[in-house]
């Protein structure tokens, strides 16, 4: 049984870490981009960002004043038991979100879409989102918080098989150029691409590809992995850099996730995470251990399974 107090306490720490500490994988990617960049203004911007990450950590203040829309991804093992059950878990995550909004502090971004009511705590109808995943074996819970920026850099389009890879590239470039102008997408960013599924799942896949996969990770399908690298290079060949100034750095990495779709369609979504790439993860065990990390490790073989049944590999059962 995992203690509810420990879950809430851990969740509050995660909210703080996500807002303040740039994940190492993204920082590494941005350092490489800053070295390669030769546009005067783009280069100034990237170096200012590197200073900003340092200032945030030193002062323990949020990296960016727009602290996005905090949300939770929760993953559990098949044997996991939470004190108080799922209702108590959701209440704990909502409390942690509200407390951290005042504690860090974060910007109270969440308002009612029509009445603009602001509870000043990032909690409201459907906020924060809490999404779930499960893994075979294991008694742990993974708490993942993502504070993605909310307004620009994301688009969806229903493509068709006849659009092919050429059509995928066209929509990808259209999205990057449109949202990259004036730097609205807060590039260079990790770009997530969702292909297939239905409209809603296509958006979910693309968003998760941007927010739940780290820089340097590759899709296990070798052809998709190749396409990811090609997309990264294509994005960086536009001639646009940070803030939409002339430059070379648009994409820190391109991640593609796929889902089976309607036989007549080829849904596509594009999502840009941002210069602050806010994500933080902890695994909490029933014995009270907490392990912090920045890799959500969301897309396991199990999450990408395509068969009816799932055979638990021997090694997996033990380690998980």
């Amino acid at each position: 049984m995992i203690s509810l107090d420990l879950i809430q306490e851990t969740a509050e720490i995660l909210m703080d870490k996500a807002a303040i500490e740039i994940p190492e994988d993204y920082l590494g990617g941005l350092r490489v981009a800053a070295k390669v960049e030769d546009g005067d203004l783009s280069s100034f911007v990237l170096n200012a960002m590197l200073e900003n990450y340092k200032a945030a950590k030193e002062d323990r203040r949020a990296m960016c004043g727009d602290t996005g829309t905090p949300r939770w991804y929760v993953k559990m093992g098949n044997e996991t038991q939470i004190e108080g059950g799922p209702i108590a878990l959701e209440a704990a995550l909502r409390r942690a979100t509200a407390n951290a909004t005042n504690g860090v502090p974060l910007r109270p971004n969440r308002v009612h879409p029509l009445w603009r009511t602001d509870h000043n705590n990032n909690v409201g109808i459907g906020a924060p989102e809490i999404e779930y995943g499960y893994e075979p074996g294991g008694e742990w819970i993974d708490l993942i918080t993502v504070h993605k920026g909310g307004l620009f850099g994301t688009d969806y389009r229903m493509l068709f098989p006849s659009d092919g890879i050429q059509g995928i590239k066209r929509f990808y470039l259209d999205s990057l150029v449109a949202f990259g102008k004036r730097g609205l997408a807060c590039q260079p960013a990790i770009i997530g691409i969702g292909l297939g599924g239905c409209k809603d799942t296509c958006m979910v896949l693309g968003k998760r590809a941007a927010c739940l996969r780290v820089v340097g990770s590759r899709n296990p399908d070798p052809k998709i992995a190749e396409l990811e690298l090609e997309m990264k290079e294509l994005g960086n060949s536009i001639g646009m850099g940070a803030m939409g100034f002339v430059g070379k750095s648009m994409v820190i990495d391109a991640n593609i996730e796929v889902g089976y779709c309607h036989t007549g369609g080829m849904q596509m979504s594009v999502h840009a995470f941002c210069l602050s790439s806010r994500r933080a993860v902890a695994r909490v065990y029933p014995d009270g251990r907490v392990e912090y990390r920045t890799d959500p490790d969301w897309f396991t073989d199990y999450q990408r399974r395509e068969t009816v049944e799932w055979e638990i590999p021997q090694s997996h059962e033990k380690s998980a």
């Binding site: 390669v36 203004l41 900003n52 949020a62 004043g65 006849s162 659009d163 807060c186």
Partner: protein
């Protein structure tokens, strides 16, 4: 490997003289000193559509309007906990900006992404104002360091923390980049033109979607704001 040259850095008052503004060139890096206030759709609607009295002496106290909501909280004892400060995208405030400038005498509009050259020519140039863009986006921690203290917060009860009018004491607050000059030229549009020249080549080997969408354009040099 890149070997970029460094842009020019300038300290500027938040009640700047016309001469100081005339000195600024597109792409200059600016650090601000003095009082700065946040005002976005909430403040604009309250001041301009509901005709509420602006609770500050403008522009005497400050001629610097920041399109921003800080990541900040008001403590139970009334003191402020100021974290990071980052701008929000300004193009959405186009419908109010002319009237706001006339009423507030703002000379510096600070935000994310700039506004259109049309807005600059119609509203900024006649009012002797320029636009400063934040950097990144998201040098929120650096900008937060430049806030010496929160002087006060107006209209918090009416508008909520995110839309309230925060009055901040800035000391070497920055960096900001000069996006528009007194003649109404735009750095972003200048950069967009340069980038557009290369786009046809980048798009080679792609093709338009078989199903079109309303309003679709294939002219990628088009400005999308406004």
């Amino acid at each position: 490997m890149g070997n970029p040259s460094k842009p020019r850095e300038i300290r500027l008052s938040t009640t700047p003289t016309p001469e100081a503004l005339a000195e600024l060139k597109l792409g200059d890096i600016v650090y601000l000193d003095g009082l700065i206030y946040t005002a976005r759709e909430g403040v604009y609607m309250r001041a301009l559509e509901q005709n509420a009295n602006i609770p500050m002496e403008l522009p005497a106290e400050s001629a610097a309007n920041f399109h921003c909501s800080p990541a900040a909280a008001i403590n139970p004892d009334g003191s402020y906990n100021m974290g990071a400060v980052t701008a929000t995208a300004s193009f959405r405030f186009s419908k109010w900006i002319g009237e706001w400038m006339a009423k507030s005498g703002a000379k510096l509009i600070i935000g994310k992404g700039g506004m259109s050259v049309k807005d600059y020519k119609e509203h900024f140039v006649p009012n002797g104002a320029i636009y400063l863009t934040t950097v990144g986006y998201g040098t929120g921690a650096l900008l937060g360091r430049g806030v010496k203290r929160v002087k006060t917060v107006h209209w918090n009860e009416e508008l909520g923390l995110a839309q309230a009018m925060w009055v901040l004491e800035a000391e070497k607050m920055g960096p900001f980049i000069v996006e528009s000059d007194l003649a109404g030229n735009s750095l972003f549009e200048r950069e967009n033109e340069k980038i557009s020249a290369n786009l046809a080549k980048v798009y080679e080997g792609t093709k338009p979607a078989v199903l079109k969408r309303f309003g679709e354009t294939d002219d990628r040099s088009d400005e999308l704001i406004g």
